[in-house]
Amino acid sequence: MHAANSVAIVDRPAATPAVALKHISKTFGTNAALTDVTVDLRPGEVHALVGENGAGKSTLMKILAGYLPADTGELEVDGRAAPADRVLSGPRVGVGFVEQEGGLIRELTGAENLILAEGTGFLADRAAAGARIRELGNRFGGAVDPHVPVELLAVGQRQRLEILIMLARGADVLILDEPTAALGIEDAAILTEIIERFTADGGGVFYISHKLHEVMSIADRITVLRGGRVVGGHAADQVEVAQLAADMVGQRVAGDENRNGNGSDSAELIEVALGEERARTTASASHEVVGTLTGVCAPAPYVGESALHELDLVVRAGEVVGVAGVVGSGQSTLARVLAGLLRPSTGTAQLPDRVAYVPEHRHDDAVALELSVRDNVVLHSHRRREFCRGPWFRRDRMDQHVEEVLRRSHVRGATLTMPISGLSGGNQQKLVLGRELDECPTLVVAHNPFRGLDVRAIQEVRQAVLGACDQGAGVVMISPDLDELLQLAHRIVVLFAGRILGEVDVADGDLDQLGRLMGGVA
């Protein structure tokens, strides 16, 4: 690495930092996840951490929260030394960590989760616990019903609830790991509101995100990590998105990177980061239909999500159909129907035998966390005749195939036998995408496929999706992020309260019309 990458620490005289991590290093086996990382957080500020997938952001935060031990380095909380080299039996006092995938126990209510976290269960008073959550919700601007089982809440509500529970436990440092990755604009706005009130109250926030524009608007300071090292430190009001993107990607010097650069140079990636890049397939949609829904009604899988009413949708080979709409308008229900996991109560769904499905909740539906990378990759392909000898697997051939899928989908830091939980969030997502696109599907259903991906990975995934289109697949892409859809889709249908309100052709699209449809005006 380059020592020449001098780091401009922005000096602003301030009180003792709320937390300071000094010279933290951490290796997993031979993989150096963090090398001599020093960051701090002042009361009342939002400090953003950005960096590519696998840069070490989550690992650093897990060390801060006491979930992982650091190999070397020191930690100070409120100016006092705190142990960084051991796993604590619970989260570090005063630190609330909202992880990438959400950490609440799904079968319990918010109040019960609070009680469990505080360990006072023997004399549990749910009403009092619920009242505390309510009170904080009102104070910070994000009310959630604390007496409903978590699994019945929508993504945004779950997250808000988790934050409120941290606050109820007296956190004055919040760590938000890609909090907006799965949120729609409305939920993201509420989150911003909570963050603002929390920092105004003197709290500090570590904020991890791949969305650089969002980072620029919400953060006070931004630290860039690359390959486990700090490579940039900026005040948010003195830096451009392009600079951040360049820091993240680094200079492409031969041999400098352990990531095999595939020709996409930084300029292009920066464009992607800026949201200027438009990628679209050259293959025009054919007339061959790959999936049809006719008059489909289906019940919602969770509270806060719409059931489908009389929905018609035709997907043709070679096209990307974007599904837009306010989160909770029936996107999850639609995805499950298309994936063949939810049978319509009325109406018919004509779908291919196997649908490639990238689910919205990665840990719940897309991977088996405690199983190996190999087991997770061969989910569909384990049926292939060539991998079997009688009832037994041919490990050699299978492993070759797994390596190939990992390479093609640019998963980094993986060995075949490690549990998939050892991969960074973005790399897990890439693995899922690679696995699903692997078997030449004719219909692809991707719900928030870019969730947790860095700019380069987004670019790679786009290419893969378009590649599938060229091979004759029809793609349904669901996303709360309209820009994402506009960059990839041929046409966008808008869901509202479980119905398709209208459709916009992206090429000669009327964006105002799109906005009106999303607001429920047909």
Binding site: Y67, V87, S89, I105, E107, L108, E112, I115, L116, G119, T120, G121, F122, A124, P149, A339, L341, R354, Y357, P359, D364, D365, A366, V367, A368, L369, E370, L371, D375, V378, L379, H380, H382, C388, P391, W392, F393, R395, S421
Partner: protein, 363 residues
């Protein structure tokens, strides 16, 4: 931990090493506790331990008795491992074992003149099928109506006891006994023994055969699907691994193992059927599997240890003048210590994901 919920790490993919550490810690703590207890009531702990040891491993004969105790525990535990790994709690081994023993008894008594080479396998198959059927029903209920398997298998245990009681005080009661027990089984239904000077029978070999089978299953397509099914049912559905089918198969497999154990118990050891034939063994086997961390080798060790404790306990009264019930206390404490150890290490979250549920919500 709170009363309202149990945080519980599903023992699915528990690692062997961790399981061993848990087990050893539990045993050490419990040994200390029991020693204190014995000292309190005025018995020499060292002498008791000595008596226990020589009772279970002192002579060839006593080692054989320990192995006999361990055999059904091992067989049932190994058959339960796949379903436990998948998060299915089949606690119906006592009932399945009882029905297995019943079927074997009926076959042996109905065809006492068949040559041994036919009668022994016939009894084995009969016992196995009966156990499998007993577990098939709860499996079917779970697969079709999501009936909680803990409750349905438990119910089957009561049914088994009732059926045995009815038959053994009625049509099957021996003419030569006032007790509710059957006639003696014919000699040619007995299992051959294979270590001279002991009662160790070939059932042990049958049980040990399951160890390599389990190991191999991990590398098979079926084993893979079970692994996925156990780790993430939603993922299994996407891979078109039908949960219902696997639920039924896993339950049936556990039942088949228990049925075989019932056959061994009646045909190799007791040579007659009685009501309580399966009760202690059936439940203990579940704990053997858990103590063995759901690993085949760990389970072998756990079964051996349980067998030694059970048999050693019986010889205590003679050896040290201690009531054999001390063994029950010992086993209870080991389980408790193990459970606490397993729960706390899960709660510190050093590996895997902690799953939890409230009892009333799980189905």
């Amino acid at each position: 931990m709170s009363l309202l919920s149990l945080t519980h790490r599903t023992p699915r993919q528990a690692s062997f090493g961790r399981g061993l550490v848990n087990l050893l810690t539990a045993v050490a703590v419990v040994a200390g506790l029991v020693a204190a207890l014995l000292a309190m009531v005025g018995v020499d702990p060292a002498g008791t331990a000595q008596a226990m040891w020589s009772g279970s491993f002192g002579t060839l004969r006593s080692t054989g008795e320990t192995l006999i105790r361990a055999t059904p525990l091992l067989l049932i535990a190994l058959a339960l491992i796949p379903s436990l790994r998948a998060g299915l709690y089949n606690i119906g081994a006592p009932g399945q074992m009882a029905f297995g023993a019943l079927a074997s008894t009926v076959i042996a008594l109905q065809a006492p003149t068949l040559p041994s080479a036919i009668l022994v396998p016939a009894c084995a198959i009969g016992g196995c099928l009966a156990g499998a059927l007993t577990a098939f029903l709860p499996g079917l209920l779970k697969a079709t109506w999501r009936a909680n398997e803990i409750i349905t298998t438990l119910a089957m245990n009561f049914i088994a006891v009732a059926v045995l009681g009815y038959l053994l005080t009625g049509v099957m009661q021996s003419d030569f006994a006032n007790l509710p027990q059957s006639d003696s089984l014919p000699a040619n239904s007995a299992l051959p023994t294979f270590i001279p000077g002991t009662r160790t029978h070939i059932g042990l070999l049958v049980a040990l055969l399951a160890v390599p089978l389990l190991w191999a299953a991990d590398r098979s397509r079926l084993g893979y699907r079970l692994r996925i099914f156990g780790a993430n049912p939603s993922l299994a559905r996407q891979a078109q691994i039908r949960p219902g089918r696997y639920t039924i198969w896993l339950m049936t497999l556990g039942g088949a193992g228990a049925g075989l154990a019932g056959w061994m118990q009646v045909a190799a050891l007791d040579h007659r059927l009685y009501v309580g034939i399966a009760t202690p063994v059936g439940y203990a086997a579940l704990f053997v599997a858990l103590l063995g961390a759901l690993h085949p080798l760990g389970t072998v060790l756990a079964a051996l240890a349980f067998g030694a404790l059970l048999h050693g306990g019986d010889s205590l009264q003679v050896g040290a003048g201690v009531s054999p019930e001390i063994v029950q206390v010992l086993l209870g404490l080991i389980l408790l210590a193990y459970a606490i150890r397993a729960t706390t290490s899960a709660a510190t979250g050093t590996e895997g994901r902690t799953r939890s549920w409230t009892f009333w919500k799980r189905s």
